[in-house]
């Protein structure tokens, strides 16, 4: 039965996360934006404990079933949206919620999940010479006896300073392309991996974005995620890399949810300010009979609503075992650009109150930009969507 309202079990999650966002994140949002570089904020430690005690449901594609489910993926959307309403950077700084955790839970062995699932695992993919084109990474891994030896430079690793371990992407043989790219769990205290720097950024300042250097970094043989074999046929190659990329089908809607939270925050603040200044925006007139301010607000609300429903749909598909690769990219593309557009427009719509630090609008507009970039840029999402729709390979549609 078609129903786009949320059942209580989802609104409860949202409610709890919203309380956390309002009670813990919002009061310290300016403080850590100013501090920028620090260890894990003390205020987040009880949050991490609380989340760990609640049990972090593994997000992933459920098995298909006749019964309709609103499960872990949708709950994740609720939680991430509400926490991002509070502060995306603080949410990303909660120990234990790294992208690496998602990878371990998605493709790790039972032992790996047991050992690393509960730790804070970051993910290191990007290199100075390889961003969106993750097949072009040049960090190498070679097997020496019972150990992998990793060498290379990694940048833009979220949580790379404060995490317990990093899931590092490296190639076994660059000449073999995508099929030879594997990921490895590297404990953060490994002597062969050093912290080069933590980036200074426009937004998401409290979140540590690290550059890491791997110099003859040795890890045990069983620290590889997935199979060490290099696929030899075109089909197998596709499958192997596809498996790695599949992690993103589950994480992209979660990242889209960050944009939803940021946009909702900006719109709520704007509405509050407008109420004080007598701008109504109560839908009482046709669009073009409304004032420019009202119409702009309606547009932004409509765009947020479209992105929100698309994000819920992609997560709902995952919860119900439906292939959602295209939908995951569609919601990320829509939400990513929406979040940026909404927050920037809200600054403009509120004049000095938007541009100064009197309200959070300027911060939200700084934070929102990265959401249209990390976890696959707008353009990468568009490529993925287009290849799906047009049935084209990455050789045809480059």
């Amino acid at each position: 039965m078609i129903n786009l309202e949320l059942p209580q079990k989802l609104t409860q999650v949202q409610h709890m996360a919203q309380q956390l966002a309002a009670g813990v994140f919002r009061p310290i949002t300016r403080k850590y934006d100013a501090i920028e570089h620090c260890e894990t904020p003390d205020e987040l430690k009880p949050v991490a404990q609380m989340m760990a005690s609640m049990g972090r449901g593994p997000k992933g594609k459920a098995e298909p079933s006749d019964e309709i489910r609103n499960g872990a993926n949708m709950m994740g959307i609720m939680g991430v949206e509400a926490m991002s309403w509070g502060d995306v950077g603080l949410m990303l700084s909660i120990p234990g919620t790294g992208l690496g955790n998602a990878a371990v839970m998605a493709v790790g062995t039972a032992e790996q999940k047991e050992k690393y699932g509960k730790l804070y695992c970051a993910m290191a993919i990007t290199e100075p010479g390889a961003g969106s084109d993750s097949a072009a990474i040049s960090t190498t891994a070679r097997l020496e006896g019972d150990e992998w030896v990793l060498n290379g430079e990694k940048i833009y690793c979220t949580g790379g300073q404060r995490c317990d371990a990093v899931v590092v992407w490296a190639t076994l043989d660059k000449s073999l392309g995508k099929a030879a790219i594997k990921s490895f769990i590297v404990p953060r205290d490994n002597a062969g991996m050093s912290l080069v720097r933590v980036e200074d950024k426009m937004g998401l300042r409290v979140s540590d974005t690290a550059a890491l250097s791997l110099n003859d970094c040795r890890i045990p043989k069983d620290h590889i995620l997935g199979s060490p074999d290099i696929a030899d046929s075109e089909e197998a190659r596709k499958k192997a890399f596809g498996g790695v990329m599949q992690t993103f089908d589950n994480t992209r809607p979660q990242v889209a949810a960050m944009a939803l939270g940021v946009a909702r925050a900006a719109l709520e603040i704007t509405r509050e300010i407008y109420e004080k200044e007598g701008v109504k925006a109560d839908f009482s007139k046709l669009h073009y009979n409304s004032t420019a301010r009202e119409l702009e607000l309606y547009r932004l609300e409509a765009d947020l609503e479209a992105a929100r429903l698309m994000t819920l749909k992609a997560a709902w598909m995952a919860d119900n075992g439906q292939p959602n690769s295209k939908d995951a990219s569609m919601c990320k593309a829509k939400a990513g650009r929406m979040g940026n557009e909404v927050t920037l427009k809200c600054v403009a719509l509120c004049g000095e109150l938007g541009y100064s630090e009197r309200t959070l609008l300027e911060k939200l507009a700084r934070d929102s930009k990265i959401i249209d970039i990390f976890e696959g840029t707008q353009q990468i999402q568009q490529l993925i969507i287009a290849r799906h729709l047009l049935g084209l390979s990455s050789k045809e549609l480059k």
Binding site: L4, Y298, L312, W316, M330, A386, L390
Partner: protein, 364 residues
Amino acid sequence: MEAALFDLTLNEEQRITRENMQRLVRDSLGPQARAADDAGSMNQDLIAAIHDFGLAFMPVPEALGGVGLSRSPLSNALACEDLGAGDMSHSLAALQPMAVVNALIDFGSEEQQEQWLPGLISEQWQGAAIALVEPRATFEPSQLQTLAAPDEGGFRLNGIKSLVPAGKHCQCFLVIADSPEGAAAFMVPAEAEGLTVSQEPTMGLRSAELCTLTLDKVFVPASHRLPGFDLDRLLALSWIGQCALAVGCCQAVLDYAIPYVKERKAFGEPIAWRQSVAFMVSDMAIEIEGMRLMMLRAASRAEQGLPFYREAYLAQLQCMEKAMAIGTNGIQLFGGAGFVRDYPLEMWYRNLRSMAVLHGSLMV
């Protein structure tokens, strides 16, 4: 009651109806839309084929010849989406009697339903339409210039209504006019004295035969006024209907463009291999999905008896802007060929512009 889960699955009946409608779209509604558009007149066979789905019959009590089901804005919206993929014009015209039926069920008294409903659901399609829009740039439904002045046991209606689908074929109209108590709805027979109907050529929706109604001291008895009229509900349910038509039409644009851009070669390879082309295709799909889900949410809220005005208002705004972008990009992808009338793209473009100007018509 535990609230239902978020769900996008069609039920069995909706799935079967969808298949049947898609067949009609494929076999006749789509292929025959162009000729009717060129002629600027509706194809009665297509009108009859849409009428045969019986959407107008569904909410009419059995005693009055209907099916006696509860009102279902959601089923109607799904139907509008499917039919809109074939032709917005014929769908809009053919479903006008359904809109009047829905208005009578939602706003009319029992006596009024007995008086008017049987005539609207005969085996043959019988024209009837809602008349809300007026020919002014700054038209605003809450400030109507068509006036209903109390007069000897009834009202005198004066004013001009426009964009009334299939006006020439209608036996009656539901005219929305400003009364001393605010916006009010009146059933007006086509033969009422002082009422003239003239076809007004428009940019698109040409086979819907949009008409202008001139009301010159038209008398309607007080019993023709629908006592439960709710302007916001009329507007919101009609926005849902029109959004659904636009979603269907935009999906048709996308489905039509995909094989073309893969086939058409420039600089030695299919144009679909270029990001500037491929990204337009992606954007179409992204926005259609957003439009569709917003339309469905508003419809499903209406279905469940939840407030839905805001959701419908935002869906209409989103659809009005995104649908037109898709219409214009559809032509762009085809280049000169999109501008030529051999292809349906320019017709879809003209039809989609109606999203911005038509209100209070296709009440689902």
